[in-house]
Amino acid sequence: MKLLLAGLFTLAPVAAAQDASTKSDLRILLVGHDPDAPRITFPDMGDERSRDLYAERTDAFRDLLRAHFETVEVVFGGAYEPSMSDDVDVTLFDCVPDRLPVPKTGELDARPSCLPHDFSRPALMIAENSSLIGEPLGSKLDWL
């Protein structure tokens, strides 16, 4: 599951980029890492390098988003609640939120998850967040 580049099955290049100078009015919510307490999934990197990378990550996503969208809100993973996604058009998950309380009925619902089973708002997941957040909901964008 390690990743370097996107593989292509065509050699044809596409034409020049079109300038889009106006910002979109889509409302975006970024669920990001707290730089002081990042939720790092893989212990692959040296601690110092991890600290450096995760210290700047949420700001980098925020700045990219604010360059293209008029309304961008930021919340750290531990403070996110699913109802927040109702007030925006797209939620971008770069950090795993807290698990919801486990309901007492229903086999699928009994799996610990960060989002309710009927979560229906548009969500873009960065890397392993697809699996960590989506797998309990039956997402095919999973680890395996």
């Binding site: 599951m1 034409a15 889009a20 692959d44 229906s120 697809s130």
Partner: protein, 478 residues
């Protein structure tokens, strides 16, 4: 990689830089990866990869097995990884979009940043489109049998043996490196010590994979002849279903009695219309998520949904109803609310291209003319054509009132190479024509209009509409 997907061209038409890169070694162990060659064309997403030694986090791809067996998904691109060439690095399932690359935007290429922004625009369309098929963890996909069968053949097993020869050689090389460090007086870890003591890796026995896949089969009766094992596996493949344990498959003898593959629509029809029989009741419970009480209810359910059934192995080998087929068709037809200032922007099957225009004041006597074009998914117009082409290209022209002049060239939709002919550029989805205009000092915009004529021809895979031109009068703001 689907370069024609909207995430690569809407709203930002991204100029993708493509270059040959070494084919990931893991691809060779997949049937679809064997003929890819030493290098393959790739698009760079990150400025640093996790293997560059700078400590970038690892991304994630999802295995493609079973991914496309439901109508609520999109495979957009694979990515260099330890999985196969068709793994999902960029994709969608329902209202969830997967961006498999783990680096922050600081380490994304400029192109990748725009594609990520486009992906946000794209997934915004799927509000309310929850997954129709929910994946069941631990359900082995039936195509695994094909891999096992291949490894039973002479050619397949020779390839497997060669792979293990390579593993063994790598293992011995690693041991030599550890021994050299010991000789140099270095300490080694417990793990490295265990590696030194480990037996060399051996290729599995020829029938080992088959026996591991189906431990419940009578392998004594089948014997050790690979040809017999192949015949057996091919005979039971249509009746395999999850046996309950993690990744275990077994033969559904009741489905086999019917003589119908459990993923054959005739199988569902047979059991749904005979729900008064005990065997059919058990099969319906096994292969659907419904729990009707009467045979009449089962029959009615089957009749009502006849055109919407699909079989998903990923969802646990279930017959499911595509409850979002109608909604997806509406979204595919582009039935959405256009911005208030562009009211006619609603393409239909009878008129697959819709357009409207406006003029915006830019200050200091300058304006910008903007024509927005919307093309129904599945259709395209032509951004560029070779000489003597019979098709009409998408083009715009203006008739300006006295006192107003163009102040630059047109910014036109860039388009993307046609799948069958790279010399032709298709324009699809949303696009714009823009042109700056400059007024003279004595120009009075009140009551002034600009006439814009858009010429175009739209085609889909099988037919073309007549070439046409449409003209609109656009008032200037004042």
């Amino acid at each position: 990689m689907r370069v024609d997907h909207p995430i690569f061209n809407t709203p930002h038409d991204v100029d993708l830089t493509i270059a040959p890169q070494p084919t990931p070694p893991s691809y060779a162990s997949y049937p679809e990866g064997r003929d890819l060659g030493q290098t393959m064309p790739m698009w760079r997403v990150q400025t640093e990869g996790y293997q560059d030694g700078t400590g970038q986090p690892i991304g994630m791809v999802s295995r493609d097995a079973g991914f496309l067996d439901s109508p609520d998904v999109e495979w957009i691109s694979s990515g260099a990884s330890m999985k196969g060439p068709n793994a999902v690095a960029i994709g969608r399932h329902g209202n969830f979009f997967h961006w498999g690359f783990a680096s922050s935007p600081t380490y994304l290429t400029d192109e990748a940043k725009l594609v990520l922004v486009n992906a946000i625009h794209y997934i915004a369309r799927f509000d309310g489109c929850t997954p129709v098929a929910r994946k069941v963890q631990g359900a082995r996909i039936r195509s695994t049998v094909d891999s096992v069968i291949e490894n039973l053949t002479d050619e397949g097993y020779a390839r497997l043996a060669l792979l293990y020869d390579g593993y063994r050689a790598d293992g011995e090389k690693r041991k030599d490196e550890i021994r050299a460090r010991i000789d140099a007086g270095e300490d080694i870890s417990d793990g490295e010590r265990r590696l030194l003591d480990a037996e060399p890796l051996k290729a599995p026995g020829r029938l080992d994979g088959a026996k591991r896949l189906l431990p419940s089969a009578d392998w004594n009766a089948i014997g050790e002849d690979p040809a017999e094992a192949i015949r057996y596996l091919e005979s039971i493949k249509p009746y395999l279903y999850p046996a309950g344990d993690w990744y275990a498959l077994d033969v559904d003898e009741e489905a086999r009695e019917l003589g119908l593959a459990n993923d054959d629509p005739a199988f569902l029809a047979r059991i749904a219309t005979t729900a008064d029989e005990e065997r059919s009741k058990r099969l319906l419970a096994r292969y659907t998520e419904e729990a009707f009480e009467s045979a009449e209810q089962w029959k009615a359910w089957h009749e009502e949904n006849a055109a919407r059934f699909f079989f998903s192995e990923a969802a646990g080998y279930k017959w499911l109803v595509d409850t979002r087929a109608d909604e997806r068709a509406r979204r595919a037809r582009g039935e959405y609310e256009p911005p208030a200032e562009l009211e006619d922007l609603r393409p239909t099957e009878r008129a697959p291209l819709a357009w409207d225009a406006r003029i915006e004041r830019r200050g200091d006597g300058t304006y910008e003319f903007i024509a927005r074009v919307e093309i129904l998914p599945g259709w395209h117009a032509y951004g560029s054509l070779p000489p003597n082409s019979p098709y009409k290209p998408l083009d715009a022209s203006l008739e300006l009132p006295d006192g107003l002049q163009p102040a630059g060239n047109w910014s036109k939709p860039a388009g993307h190479p046609a799948p069958a002919d790279p010399g032709v550029l298709h324009v699809t989805g949303s696009s714009e024509f823009r042109r700056a205009l400059k007024a003279t000092e004595d120009f009075d915009p009140e009551g002034a209009t600009v006439r814009c004529t858009l010429g175009f021809q739209v085609c889909d895979e099988s037919m073309c509409m007549r070439p046409t031109s449409k003209t609109k009068s656009v008032p200037l703001p004042h």
